[in-house]
């Protein structure tokens, strides 16, 4: 059984059909890249998966459960975490605090006045681990809003990780980054995939990242599923090439 299954999902905005009967199945442990020219409907697709939007047709099945129409918080509770195209973190809190909050939530401390001493140690350790994995130790006590773009993105990804998710959705993680930062984020994602054995779906425009990291690639164009396959298959797929090349005119 696939971890994430999208069955013929569609989403229209008035007369605009942003997503048109797209189906996708992601296996546990897979790293799937979703690519496509601008306006292909990738972010809308993500919004359907994560619950920000409801599909006008079709269904979303996560870990065997039909989550279509459920609220985002419900899906997070089931193990789905996501990042956004425009980094969404807590700007006036320190990096450490940004990570502390999801760690506490993952420990079930939503309404607690205080964490029991034994758990507190585990929490603090987990925060340190996350800081390390994301290479954020040096900046732990700086305000997240003051960090570089790349570090903010790393913080956001580590926040998603802090939730102990089964599936992580990354929306254009390297958007707006230079080569060095892109490399760092790509390495981070690779680490998460290999070491933490996370199932990851990511939207990306940077083909170097896509072809280096992805197990499988899904191509969308103008809301429709264009092609799906291994990086090699997609690279040699003429329809895909036409879609991209056609758009650069």
């Amino acid at each position: 059984m696939s971890l994430l299954e999208i069955r013929s999902a569609s989403r229209s905005f008035g007369s605009l059909l942003a997503v048109d009967e797209v189906s996708m199945a992601v296996e546990t442990g897979e790293l799937r890249a979703v690519i496509g020219p601008n306006g292909a409907g990738k972010t809308t697709f993500f919004n359907l998966i994560s619950g920000l939007l409801s599909p006008t047709a079709g269904s979303i099945i996560f870990d065997g459960q039909d989550v279509t129409g459920t609220k985002p918080a419900t899906r997070v509770g089931l193990g789905m975490a996501r990042t956004f195209q425009i980094t969404e973190i807590f700007p006036e809190l320190t990096v450490r605090e940004n990570l502390l909050i999801p760690v506490e939530l993952a420990a079930g401390l939503k309404f607690s006045p205080r964490a029991p001493a034994a758990i507190q140690e585990l929490i603090d350790q987990r925060v340190l681990d996350l800081l390390g994995t994301g290479n954020l130790d040096a900046r732990a006590d700086r305000l997240a809003g003051e960090l570089s773009h790349g570090d903010q993105r790393a913080t956001e990804i580590m926040m998603a990780l802090a939730l102990n998710p089964r599936l992580v959705l990354l929306d254009e993680p390297t958007a707006g980054m230079g080569d060095q930062e892109t490399y760092a984020i790509a390495q981070l994602i690779r680490r998460l995939h290999r070491d933490a054995k996370l199932t990851i779906v990511l939207i990306e425009h940077d083909m170097r990242v896509v072809f280096n990291l992805a197990d499988r690639i899904t191509v969308l164009d103008r809301g429709k599923l264009l092609a799906e396959g291994s990086p090699k298959e997609i690279a040699s797929n003429e329809v895909v090439q036409a879609a991209y090349l056609g758009k650069t005119e």
Binding site: P72, A73, V76, I101, R114
Partner: protein
């Protein structure tokens, strides 16, 4: 954690200042009742700030619950003949219950619209107090009752006759309430509220039921504000509809903003400045309303981060 040491000295300083206030106030031309008023309104402003500064919710109608606390006390003593402590309990329950109900209706709204609705609901209670002459005394206010001296069995506290003894009673309640609020803010729950303030979308996508948490924050904040209202009624031995009016709500907000919304003690500082200024200005001129209005305008234009915000550096560790 790291913050404990940084919190210690300000807290101790504040406590010492407050403990000695009835003694140093007169040196500046003040009087004990003024000190008590600072504590009471300071508590109200801090309670409002729980919602405004820490959860990021723009509530502009908190006088409703303050006023219900006040009327609860007055009516409990006048009609039910209860003692002081029970009266405070009645007032607090009244305010908190009302907030719980109103909160249910409005947690899905945001921003200026939320503010408008909170103001409107505040007016509902104002009208009830105004119209229900027979019970509330209408515009003339609820009279014919006073603070009941406390009898603990082993000791008596005549809070009616002694201004100072009442001050210290209020101080005890104030410190207890402040401690409770501080504990809540620094708890994991408190951090979820700060998360909502910082980035509602991110909070939602970390699995926080934003509306539910906002409701809790609303109720908790109103609980403490109605305690303040109860104390206010006891302070004046009198309640009238003005304790429910929007201008009092606005005053709480300006106190919080002036003192510094992001700081714990900020609203208390703001309240102190506001109360003292208002006392001074109203004794000098009839046009104190213009001064209050001008005060609002100046604070907004020149002190948006508040007095304590000016003192603190940007890269501070204090988040909650």
């Amino acid at each position: 954690m790291i913050n404990a040491a940084r919190r210690f000295w300000p807290t101790v300083t504040v406590c010492l200042i407050l403990l000695a206030m009835p003694y140093w106030m007169p040196l500046f031309g003040g009087y004990t009742e003024l000190s008590t008023r600072i504590l009471v309104l300071g508590l109200a402003a801090m309670a409002l700030n729980f919602l405004l500064g820490f959860t990021g919710v723009l509530s502009f109608g908190h006088a409703a619950y303050f006023g219900l606390g006040a009327y609860g006390v007055g009516m409990a003593i006048k009609y039910l003949g209860t003692g002081t402590v029970s009266a405070i309990a009645v007032g607090t329950c009244a305010g908190t219950l009302a907030a719980a109900l109103v909160g249910r209706l409005i947690v899905h709204l945001r921003g200026v619209y939320f503010a408008m609705v909170t103001i409107a609901f505040g007016q509902v209670f104002y009208f009830i107090a105004f119209r229900w002459n027979s019970v509330t005394g209408g515009d003339d206010g609820l009279t014919g009752w006073r603070r009941v001296p406390l009898d603990f069995g082993i000791a008596k506290l005549d809070i009616l006759a002694g201004d100072k003894s009442f001050y210290y009673l209020v101080l005890v309640v104030f410190l207890a309430a402040a401690a409770a609020m501080a504990a809540l803010i620094r708890s994991p729950f408190g951090r979820t509220l700060v998360a909502i303030r910082e980035n509602e979308r991110r909070a939602r996508f970390l699995g926080i039921d934003v509306e539910r948490h906002m409701w809790f924050s609303f109720v908790i904040s109103s609980l403490f504000v109605s305690i303040a209202g109860s104390l206010f009624a006891l302070l004046n031995n009198f309640v009238d509809p003005r304790v429910l009016r929007w201008d009092l709500s606005g005053s709480f907000v300006i106190m919080a903003v002036l003192g510094g919304m992001r700081s714990f003690w900020g609203p208390l500082v703001g309240a102190a400045v506001f109360v003292v200024l208002q006392d001074y200005v109203s004794s000098k001129t009839e046009n104190w309303m213009s001064f209050v209005g001008l005060f609002f305008v100046l604070v907004v234009l020149f002190f948006p981060r508040g007095l304590l915000g000016l003192l603190r550096r940007r890269s501070s560790h204090e988040s909650a």
